[in-house]
C-alpha cells in the first residue's frame, strides 16, 4: 500500500520527542522567514521616513490613535491568554485550555473588528491611497505614501491575524476531539509561537505608525 495522504505510512521519526523537537525547529525557521517577509516593508518604511519626516508626522496624526492604542492592549492580552493556553495543555487541563483558547480567539477577533472599523473610518475620510485619496495637507503625495505603508503593513499583519484565528479554531476543534494533552501539546505550542510572533510584529508597527511625532 502506497504512502499517501489518505494512507500515511509510519512517520520518519523514531520517537515522539524527536518529532516534537523537529516541529519546534520547523516553527522557528518559519518565524525567521516571516521576519524577512515583513522586513521588506520595514526597510521601505525606513527609507521613506528618513526621506520625508514631516509627511510621516502628518500621516501619523491622521490615524485613529485611540483605536490603535486600544488594539495594542487587546492583542497583548490575547497573547497572555495564549500563554495560559500553552501552560494549560502542558498540565493536561482541557477545560482551562478551552477557555483560554476561546479568550485568545475572541480578543483576536476583537482586534480585527476594531481594525476594520478603523479602515472604514479611514476610507470615509479619504485616507485610502489611490484614486480616492483626498487629504488636503502639505506634501500630500508623501502623506499618501505613509498611508500606503500603513495599510500595507497593518493589512499584512491583519492577514496573519486571520490565519492565526483559523489556527486557533483548529486547536479548539482538536481539543474538542480530545486530541490534545500533556503528551500531545505540539500543535498548541506551535500556534502559540506563531501568535506571539504576530503580536511582536504589532509591537513594532504600533510606535512606527501611530507614535510618529
Amino acid at each position: 500500500m502506497s504512502n499517501t495522504l489518505t494512507h500515511p505510512a509510519a512517520s520518519p521519526y523514531s520517537d515522539r520527542e524527536q518529532h516534537a523537537v523537529a516541529n519546534h525547529l520547523g516553527m522557528w525557521t518559519f518565524i525567521a522567514t516571516e521576519i524577512l517577509f515583513f522586513g521588506g516593508l520595514f526597510a521601505s518604511y525606513s527609507l521613506y521616513r528618513w526621506a520625508y519626516p514631516a509627511a510621516f508626522v502628518t500621516g501619523s496624526k491622521h490615524l485613529e490613535f485611540w483605536i490603535g492604542t486600544l488594539n495594542t492592549g487587546v492583542l497583548l492580552t490575547s497573547s497572555l491568554f495564549m500563554a495560559l493556553a500553552d501552560l494549560a495543555v502542558r498540565a493536561g487541563r482541557r477545560g482551562a485550555l478551552r477557555w483560554s483558547l476561546l479568550a485568545t480567539w475572541l480578543l483576536g477577533a476583537l482586534f480585527l473588528g476594531l481594525k476594520f472599523y478603523e479602515y472604514h473610518l479611514a476610507a470615509k475620510e479619504g485616507h485610502v491611497p489611490g484614486a480616492h485619496f483626498r487629504l488636503e495637507v502639505p506634501q500630500a503625495p508623501q502623506v499618501e505614501l505613509f498611508m500606503f505603508l500603513y495599510f500595507a503593513m497593518t493589512g499584512l499583519h491583519a492577514a496573519h491575524m486571520i490565519i492565526g484565528l483559523g489556527a486557533i479554531a483548529w486547536l479548539l476543534w482538536l481539543n474538542h476531539r480530545r486530541r490534545l494533552g500533556a503528551d500531545h501539546d505540539a500543535p498548541v505550542s506551535m500556534v502559540a509561537l506563531y501568535w506571539h510572533f504576530v503580536d511582536c510584529v504589532w509591537i513594532f508597527l504600533y510606535p512606527l505608525l501611530y507614535l510618529v511625532r
Binding site: T6, P12, F37, G40, G130
Partner: protein, 542 residues
C-alpha cells in the same frame, strides 16, 4: 595491486519490500503521495515541462537574432519572449531543479532516514509550485509580460501594459513552495540523521543543500514582499516606486536584488554539491579538503547576502556603496575558487573513470570556472561600467547557470538514475549527448562575451550590423545545444522502462543511498543504518 573492493549493500532480512515505484499504480497514489521519492519525480516532470517552454522562447529569440533587423517577430513579442524565458527558467526551472527533484529524492536516503521531516508539507509544496505555475501560464497565454524577469520599476509598476500582476502572482506563489522545501530540508538535516552521522561526516551534497536551504528560507520572503508591492502599486496607483508620486525606483532594485543575488547561489550551490559527490565516486577518493569545501558552502551562503549592490553599479547608487559591494563580491568569489582547486586535487592519485556523470561534473568544473572568472571581471568596478547590461553579463550568467547548474543537474540525474528507476541509462548515447551539450553550449555563449565587450546591449531586438557574425555563431551553437538536450529526454525516458537493470550500487560508491536497493524501497531502508566512518571512505589503494 588488487582492484578496488565494492562496498557491499547491507543485507536485507526477510522478503523484499516493494520498491517505491511498485507500491501503488493509481493516479491517486502519485498525486496524494507522501513519499519524498515520488514527490521528487512529480517535480522532475513539472520542471521539465517548464524548461521546454522557456527553451522554446529562447529558440525563437536566437532565430530572430540571426539578422540585425527585427524580421521574425515584433519588438513587443520579442520583449515578451525574453521575459518569459527569464521568469520561467529562473523560478520554474533553475530554483527548483536540483533541490526539489534530486534534493527531495536523495536527501533522506543520504542521511539514512525514511522520509523528510514534514512529508505533508512536502506534498503541499508541489501543489503550491503548480499553482504558481498555473498563474504564470495564464499570464503567458494571455499575451505575456514585457518587463524582463527583473521587473524594474517604474516600467513594471506604472508603464507596462502587460499582465504583470498575474505573472508576479505566479512567482509569489511559487516562492512559498521554495520556502517550504528549504524549511523541510533544514529540519530534516538537523533532526533525522542516522545514528553516527555527525555533521563532520555529512556528504558534501548535504552541506550544499543545507546552505541552499538557509538561503531559500531567508531570501525568498523578500522577493515575495517586493512582488506584492509591485502588485499593490499597479492596483492602487500609489507611488512606492514611482518618482512622480514621491517614490524611489531604486528601492525596488535594492529589494529585488537582495533576494535575487542569493537566489543565484540557490541555483549553483546544489550543483556544486552534486559535483562533489560525483567526483568522489568516479575518482574513488575522498574529496580533497573536505572541511574547507563544507565551510565554503556555508561561506557562500552567508557572503551571498552581502553583495546584491553589484547589480547596481551604474544605477545611480552612491559610488562608495559600489566600492563596498565590489569588495564583498571579490570575497564571495574566493570560496568558489577553493572548491574548484579542491575538486582538481581530488583527481590527483585517484582511480578515475569517465562515465557520463563524471563527464558532466568535469564539464561543470570547466564551464563554471569560466563563468567564475568573468564574474571576477564583473566585480571589478571599472570593467562592469562598460559591460553591465550587455551580452557579456548574459554570457557570464549562462556559463554559470547552464554550463554550471544545468550540467550538474544532468550529472546528478544520470548518477542517481539507477536509484531512481532501478535501471541504467545507455552509456554511449549519454556520453555523446554530454559532449554535444558541451560543444553546443560553448558555441552559443562564448561569442556573447565578445559581443558584450564590443557593446551589444542585452534585451535588444534589433542591433547594428557589425554584431551579426557573432550572433550567427551563437544561434548555430544554440541549435546544437537544443539537440543535445533532446537526446537525454529520449534515452532517459526509454531507459526508465527498458534500461538494463541495476543493482544497489552500480558505481561502487560510498554513501548511504547506495546501501539500499535500486530502485529505492518504499521506506528507504529495511533497518536504520548506523554510520561508523566519514564520507567517501574508499579503501586507500596504491
Amino acid at each position: 595491486m588488487s582492484s578496488p573492493v565494492l562496498i557491499p549493500p547491507a543485507p536485507v532480512p526477510g522478503p523484499r519490500p516493494p520498491d517505491y515505484l511498485a507500491a501503488g499504480h493509481t493516479i491517486g497514489s502519485w498525486l496524494l503521495t507522501l513519499d519524498h521519492k515520488r514527490i521528487g519525480l512529480l517535480y522532475l516532470f513539472a520542471i521539465t515541462f517548464f524548461f521546454a517552454i522557456a527553451a522554446f522562447a529562447a529558440a525563437l529569440m536566437r532565430i530572430e537574432l540571426l539578422t540585425p533587423a527585427g524580421d521574425l517577430v515584433t519588438s513587443e513579442t520579442y520583449n515578451r519572449l525574453f521575459t518569459l524565458h527569464g521568469v520561467t527558467m529562473v523560478w520554474f526551472f533553475l530554483i527548483p531543479s536540483i533541490p526539489a527533484t534530486l534534493g527531495n529524492f536523495v536527501i533522506p536516503l543520504m542521511i539514512g532516514a525514511r522520509d523528510v521531516a514534514f512529508p505533508r508539507l512536502n506534498l503541499a509544496s508541489w501543489y503550491i509550485f503548480m499553482l504558481g505555475g498555473l498563474f504564470t501560464l495564464y499570464a503567458i497565454v494571455m499575451g505575456g509580460v514585457d518587463t524582463g524577469w527583473t521587473f524594474y520599476t517604474p516600467y513594471s509598476s506604472t508603464y507596462s501594459n502587460s499582465h504583470v500582476m498575474a505573472m508576479a502572482a505566479g512567482v509569489f506563489i511559487a516562492g512559498f513552495s521554495s520556502i517550504a522545501t528549504g524549511l523541510n530540508f533544514i529540519v530534516t538535516i538537523h533532526k533525522l540523521r542516522a545514528p553516527g552521522l555527525t555533521w563532520g561526516r555529512l556528504p558534501l551534497f548535504l552541506w550544499s543543500m543545507y546552505s541552499t536551504s538557509i538561503i531559500l528560507v531567508l531570501a525568498t520572503p523578500v522577493l515575495a514582499i517586493t512582488l506584492l508591492l509591485i502588485v499593490l502599486e499597479r492596483c492602487f496607483g500609489v507611488g512606492i516606486f514611482d518618482p512622480k508620486l514621491g517614490g524611489d525606483p531604486l528601492l525596488f532594485q535594492h529589494l529585488f536584488w537582495f533576494y535575487s543575488h542569493p537566489a543565484v547561489y540557490i541555483m549553483i550551490l546544489p550543483g556544486m554539491g552534486v559535483v562533489s559527490e560525483i567526483i568522489a565516486a568516479f575518482a574513488r577518493k575522498p574529496v580533497f579538503g573536505y572541511e574547507v569545501v563544507a565551510a565554503s558552502s556555508m561561506a557562500i551562503g552567508v557572503l551571498g547576502f552581502l553583495v546584491w549592490g553589484h547589480h547596481m553599479f551604474v544605477s545611480s547608487q552612491s559610488v562608495y556603496a559600489g566600492v563596498v559591494f565590489s569588495l564583498l563580491s571579490f570575497l564571495v568569489a574566493v570560496p568558489s575558487a577553493i572548491k574548484v582547486f579542491s575538486w582538481t586535487a581530488t583527481l590527483h592519485r585517484g582511480h578515475i573513470s569517465l562515465e557520463t556523470p563524471m563527464l558532466y561534473a568535469l564539464g561543470f568544473i570547466g564551464l563554471f570556472t569560466v563563468g567564475g572568472v568573468t564574474g571576477v571581471m564583473l566585480a571589478t568596478l571599472a570593467i562592469d561600467v562598460h559591460v553591465t547590461d550587455t551580452y557579456f553579463v548574459v554570457a557570464h550568467f549562462h556559463y554559470i547557470m547552464v554550463g554550471g547548474a544545468v550540467m550538474a543537474f544532468m550529472g546528478g540525474i544520470h548518477y542517481w538514475w539507477p536509484k531512481i528507476c532501478g535501471r541504467m541509462y545507455p552509456e554511449w548515447p549519454a556520453r555523446i549527448a554530454a559532449l554535444t551539450i558541451f560543444l553546443g553550449f560553448n558555441l552559443t555563449f562564448f561569442p556573447q562575451f565578445v559581443l558584450g565587450y564590443m557593446g551589444m546591449p542585452r534585451r535588444y531586438h534589433v542591433y547594428p550590423p557589425e554584431f551579426q557574425a557573432l550572433n550567427v555563431l551563437s544561434t548555430a551553437g544554440a541549435s546544437i545545444l537544443g539537440i543535445g538536450y533532446l537526446m537525454p529526454l529520449v534515452y532517459l525516458t526509454w531507459s526508465f522502462f527498458r534500461g538494463r537493470r541495476a543493482g544497489p550500487n552500480p558505481w561502487g560508491a560510498t554513501g548511504l543511498e547506495w546501501r539500499t536497493d535500486s530502485p529505492a524501497p518504499e521506506h528507504n531502508f529495511a533497518e536504520t543504518p548506523i554510520v561508523t566512518t566519514g564520507p567517501y571512505h574508499y579503501p586507500v589503494q596504491p
